[in-house]
């Protein structure tokens, strides 16, 4: 039994979704996304995963980015925002996510009854 393998598959399959959900609320910069996700071990990922992934989402035009100066001697930050295309993609993902949750809870319920 290796639950770690399964956990990493879940993470890989849901990171895009988590990141798009975050960015939908407001513009985020990369390090902020990493810090936010670190609060939840099941989706926590390091820089070498998140930054390349953001780059792919940019390429696929689900998100856009802009550099903004920050305060007090800190370097400029690259903020990511959701595009129209990204919003559509996110809605479609949300539908599937709800389908999954419903399926799992029903399957669980049936197992408990039986």
């Amino acid at each position: 039994m290796n639950v770690e393998d399964w956990k990493s598959q879940i993470k890989r399959g849901t990171l895009d979704y988590c990141i798009l959900l975050l960015i939908k609320q407001r513009p985020y910069y990369g390090y902020e996304i990493i810090s936010k996700l670190e609060q939840y071990p099941i989706v926590a990922a390091k820089e070498n995963t998140i930054y390349p992934l953001l780059r792919r989402l940019l390429k696929e035009e689900y998100i856009s980015s802009s550099w903004q100066e920050s305060t007090e001697g800190l370097p400029p930050r690259k903020y990511y925002t959701l595009t129209e295309k990204g919003n559509e993609y996110l809605s479609a993902m949300s539908v599937e996510w709800d389908n999954l949750l419903t399926a799992i809870s029903e399957i669980k319920g049936e197992l408990n009854d039986g």
């Binding site: 993470k11 390090y31 390091k46 930054y51 690259k78």
Partner: protein, 185 residues
């Protein structure tokens, strides 16, 4: 403040990403530099920052791998990105296998389109009373007549195109597999 450890790291990233366009590479390096300073501001030492970011080669590989988007659609820019990926990472798969199969798959797809066109040209020529000898297929001793050539060219074209597409999909899958191999996620 950037010190030597962090600067050396960025220089390595620059080197591994040299096959990318200038604007993209500069943007990536700028963002990594930004996160380094962000981490430093939160009390991490240079060594801890490098440790967190991981081996520069692996990080670059992840960037180059993700640059090849996951869908299997063909585009010339993706073809270029495959070669960029290969040129940064030597080794048997990078130097020989990947360039070979990706080029072969495109040659097959192009051949798959050209062959039926040849068939149509030959068929139209035949209807108009010409035999275009330059376009032909030989299968052992059997050389199809212009009438037979037309359907044969379509079947062969479809087969070539299909084979090219399968090879292309394999190439994309393979690149994603090797660019994610060493990641902890």
């Amino acid at each position: 403040m950037m010190d030597k450890i962090m600067n050396d790291y960025l220089v390595k990233i620059e080197k591994y990403l040299k096959s990318m366009s200038d604007s993209e590479r500069i943007d990536i390096v700028k963002e990594i530099k930004s996160v380094m300073l962000e981490l430093q501001n939160n009390g991490f030492s240079s060594e801890q920052i490098i440790e967190r970011l991981g081996n520069p080669k692996e990080l670059s590989k992840a960037y180059l791998g993700e640059a090849i988007s996951k869908n299997n659609k063909f585009s010339w820019s993706k073809f270029g990105a495959i070669f960029a990926f290969c040129s940064s990472f030597a080794g048997v798969s990078g130097m020989l296998l990947l360039p070979f199969i990706s080029t072969l798959s495109i040659a097959l797809m192009i051949g798959g389109v050209i062959t039926p066109i040849g068939g149509i040209i030959k068929f139209v020529g035949y209807l108009m009373g010409y035999d275009i000898a330059g376009i032909t297929i030989e299968m052992g001793t059997f050389t199809p007549s212009p009438m037979q050539f037309f359907p044969i060219s379509i079947v062969i074209g479809a087969l070539m195109f299909w084979l090219g597409k399968v090879l292309w999909n394999l190439t994309i899958k393979y690149i994603h597999a090797i660019s994610q191999k060493k990641k902890t996620v």
